[in-house]
């Protein structure tokens, strides 16, 4: 049997949207391209914001950093909404299984009490710090320019809220779902000297007006240090100190941090290589925030891992900055 398909008259008259064609040529486009480029409105705004009358509603001047084309900040992961949720859905399925396994085997009960207390004192309060990360990235979504970066920022923001919930779930896994550990952890967050520097840093970042400065303070300076302390150094520490089971519960945060760093490295690199103006501005922010981060993290890093830990984390930050051409 032959099937006749009439295809001769079914030729497309164009391959993609005009703005995509202007950027990438007349050829079929990827879904990332169509979903991302030039989506932000750029011209002919109607009203002055009641809360920011000197700027337009979408205004590149909401940061001191200047880009010829904000769409240069492409996400190396090419996440638009669909791939983002599908990727995170897979990761959460894995996390869900880990948590189930942990609970089913009663692994929480087999932890020795000093380790349990250490987790409640020095790990679970991260759930609050993650809320600041959520807000700082949401700030960039609201005030940033170009969907390439603003969409990645909201993905980061939602991720960080997810992190806050996972840290809380670790608490629930340890306290048998009573929530007692969360209440204790919150007291540590509010008054334990180990946390006050971090809390002050978080509160300070929430008052930043320039959205790219918020990105630097949060996603570059603080996160690089936190990621190294918690997801590398503390990971090793747990392995050596009978805490392997807990690694199951940290896996999501660890994997996610790696994934996110590919994006934030790329954003940083593109912005600082754009111009001297940008790299000077970014350097100025970094020098301000690294001093604050040093003070903020010292007591926490010492309590968590000992005196040398923070210096090691700063070495990682140094390396990360050097890699993108920022020599502090």
């Amino acid at each position: 049997m032959t099937i006749e398909i009439k295809t001769s008259t079914m030729k497309p008259i164009r391959n993609t949207y005009a703005h995509i064609e202007r950027r990438f040529g007349d050829k079929p486009a990827t879904r990332y391209q169509e979903a991302t480029y030039d989506v932000h409105s750029t011209h002919n705004f109607h009203y002055k914001p009641l809360w920011d009358q000197d700027r337009q509603i979408n205004d590149p001047a909401r940061t001191a950093v200047v880009m010829g084309d904000w769409y240069d900040l492409k996400d190396p992961r090419q996440f638009y909404y669909g791939p983002y949720v599908q990727n995170r859905s897979k990761m959460q399925e894995n996390a869900e299984n880990n948590f189930k396994f942990f609970e089913k085997r009663g692994l929480g009960e087999s932890l020795n009490s000093s380790l349990r207390e250490k987790i409640i004192e020095l790990v679970i309060p991260m759930r609050h710090a993650e809320v600041a990360a959520n807000l700082n990235n949401m700030y960039g979504t609201a005030h940033g320019t170009g969907t390439a970066v603003t969409q990645a920022l909201i993905f980061e923001a939602m991720d960080r809220f997810g992190n806050a919930q996972y840290f809380s779930k670790i608490g629930l896994a340890l306290d048998g779902n009573t929530g007692d550990s969360l209440a204790t952890a919150k007291e540590h967050w509010m008054s334990n000297p180990a946390w006050q520097g971090v809390r002050a840093y978080c509160e300070k970042t929430l008052t930043i007006k320039d959205w790219f400065e918020a990105f630097i303070a949060q996603d570059i300076v603080l996160d690089t240090l936190i990621n190294d302390l918690y997801y590398r150094q503390f990971d090793e520490w747990l392995t050596q100190n009978n805490g392997r089971d807990l690694l199951l519960l940290m896996e999501f945060m660890q994997d996610r941090a790696k994934d996110s760093q590919r994006w934030s490295d790329s954003v940083l690199k593109v912005v600082v290589t754009e111009s001297e103006h940008n790299s000077n501005q970014v350097l100025a922010w970094i020098s301000t925030w690294r001093i604050r981060a040093q003070e903020a993290l010292e007591p926490l890093a010492s309590a968590l891992l000992g005196d040398k830990a923070l210096a090691d984390a700063f070495a990682v930050l140094e390396k990360r900055l050097t890699k993108v051409g920022l020599n502090c």
Partner: protein
């Protein structure tokens, strides 16, 4: 009413003020009960334009497509300027007649009831 804004000195820009039209002023022209034209329309006109010139040169452009346009008796035509009855001296200019920037001038022709008498 004062607007509630973060700062008390909130002011908008008057985006359509007179000086932005390169010497012209805007006049909106409508023809009541002739809805072939979906709405009144905006014309940038020199303020010194005489009313007669408006009748001769602008009106055909505005309403000439209507089948009843040629039947208009301009001597009997009634006018509403900015919601008030108006009797223009055809020899005077827009400025002299108080036809201001963004004034709405409506032509009323009660004897012409529009296409099929339906106000169209």
């Amino acid at each position: 009413m004062t607007i509630r804004a973060l700062r008390d000195d909130y002011h908008g820009e008057f985006k359509d003020s007179l000086e932005k039209f390169g010497g012209a002023q805007l006049v909106y022209l409508g023809w009541d009960k002739h809805q072939m034209f979906c709405s009144s329309r905006a014309f940038p006109l020199p303020p010194e334009m005489r009313f007669q010139e408006l009748l001769d040169n602008v009106m055909p452009e505005a309403f000439g497509q209507h089948p009843e346009f040629t039947q208009i008796d301009w001597n009997k035509a009634q006018w509403i300027l900015d919601n008030s009855a108006f009797q223009p001296d055809h020899s005077k200019s827009l400025t002299e007649l108080d036809i201001g920037h963004k004034s709405l001038l409506r032509l009323v022709t009660p004897e012409l009831t529009g296409y099929k008498g339906a106000g169209i």
